[in-house]
Amino acid sequence: MKNCEYQQIDPRALSTPTPTTTPLPPPCAKKTGRPRRKWEVFPGRNRFYCDGRIIVARQMGVLPLTLGLILVTSSLFFIFDCPFLVAHLTGCIPAIGGLLCVFVVVSLLQTSFSDPGILPRATPEEAADIEKQIDNSGSSSYRPPPRTREVLIRQQVVKLKYCFTCKMFRPPRTSHCSLCDNCVERFDHHCPWVGNCVGKRNYRFFYTFIVSLSFLTTFIFGCVITHLTLRSQSGKGLVLALQESPARYPLPLSFINPHAIPERVCFHTYLVASNLTTNEDIKGSWSGKRGAVDSGNPYSYNNIFTNCCVVLCGPMPPSLIDRRGFVLTDTPPAAPQEAELPHFVAKNDANMEESCQEFALTCTA
């Protein structure tokens, strides 16, 4: 897998800037002659692998530890407990364990490697338009214009905040993750265990992961206890069975998890049933503590079943960042003299790279 972060600008590889008087090159051809994909110029703090197919946060947190714990515990279970239990109980045990393990690993990887619902940053024209609207909102001369906007959602006033990094008013339920430096739709939280934000697009993967993980750990724990019980019944007693049998190996790991994971499952089940996010719950956005008249959650359907279906089985929203698309210029062919260009000329993403290269040139000159 390629680890492609922002490429270091090599001054020796830079070519001279293309003069504006020449006809425009084909939209995808750059100075290096290779069309760049959008993930290569992505402004957030993310890493991309497999040519943009996989996205993770820059700080992967303890994802390798999570994966390692799951695989090690499961391996110990299969090696030390399954043969005995297959011989004494049923052959279904490794099958169920295997299925649960695959489910857990797949949903973990889906949570970690998918786009959580990142909102692309505003284009320069859009940012300028918003600035114009803020300035025109009738503020007095000595006070800075407000950077919030109030909207009415199902007869309830919701404040939209302006994001200074992404240069836009954040849609409802969107929050800016400081670790990933992105605005994420329906932001729940940044989970270090999965090494990614949990948001609109991967919340269902995350929920599936924690539910199946709780089943897996409970299953392994139960099987280990059963194994030790059966061994102790053969006359040796529990303590001796613990000392002798390798069945004890998965015990510590599978003991920890049933006490941490089910609490998460219960909490997130409550969030799903009330169509809330962790972020909203922590901030108390809809708890009515300010004594407002109607401050219930405007996004809830007021029916537990409907809320669950909408959050977990609703339509899968598309990724908005188009990481495998090519960086294109969307302007019509430019006029020969730059002075005659109209005020609002659409810029492509490569302008950022060009200005960085010019800066690099001046530094190395």
Binding site: L119, E126, V158, P171, R204, T208, C313, G314, M316, P342
Partner: protein, 158 residues
């Protein structure tokens, strides 16, 4: 005076971009994708109000169809959950199918209605589904006063 362009290519070759207008999202019904149908003043002299409103309403209907919560979406969701969501890697979701319909509709609207009037609608998916961006073009061969007037009208706010 309205600038006449017959094709998108003709517009791109002979026009220069004067300004852009942004149609914002309408959040009155929650986080579902819906755009405001308020007619921007910059388009007053460029396109008929009814045509513009029809375009935006049709787009809103498309997005409502994509985000509709019903039997089909539940079936898709449950099937995906049962396969640990691996099925999303293999098949096109209903949302993606509707997005393709939207792209075709926008292309058709641009070719039939907006390009002949010197306008170009950008697919909202390319702007993070936050805005409908409408680019206003001026014919380069027209006099400087027309581009001057469009700049003044664009600076007058919404």
């Amino acid at each position: 005076m309205a600038t006449e362009f017959h094709t998108l290519q003709e517009m791109q070759h002979s026009a220069s971009l004067a300004t852009k207008v942004f149609i914002q999202r309408d959040y009155s019904e929650g986080t579902v994708c819906k755009f405001q149908t308020k007619f921007p003043s910059e388009l007053d002299s460029r396109v008929e109000r009814t045509l513009f409103e029809d375009t935006v309403k049709t787009l809103n209907n498309f997005y409502a169809e994509a985000e509709k919560i019903g039997g089909q979406s539940y079936l898709e969701g449950c099937m995906a959950c049962a396969t640990a969501y691996v099925i999303f890697l293999c098949m096109e979701t209903r949302y993606e199918k509707v997005l393709k319909k939207i792209s075709r509709y926008i292309l058709e609207q641009n070719e039939k209605i907006y390009a002949p009037r010197g306008l170009l609608i950008t697919d909202p998916i390319e702007r993070g589904m936050r805005v409908i961006e409408i680019s206003i073009f001026e014919d380069r061969s027209s006099s400087g006063s027309s581009s001057g007037s469009s700049s003044t009208s664009s600076s007058s706010g919404r």
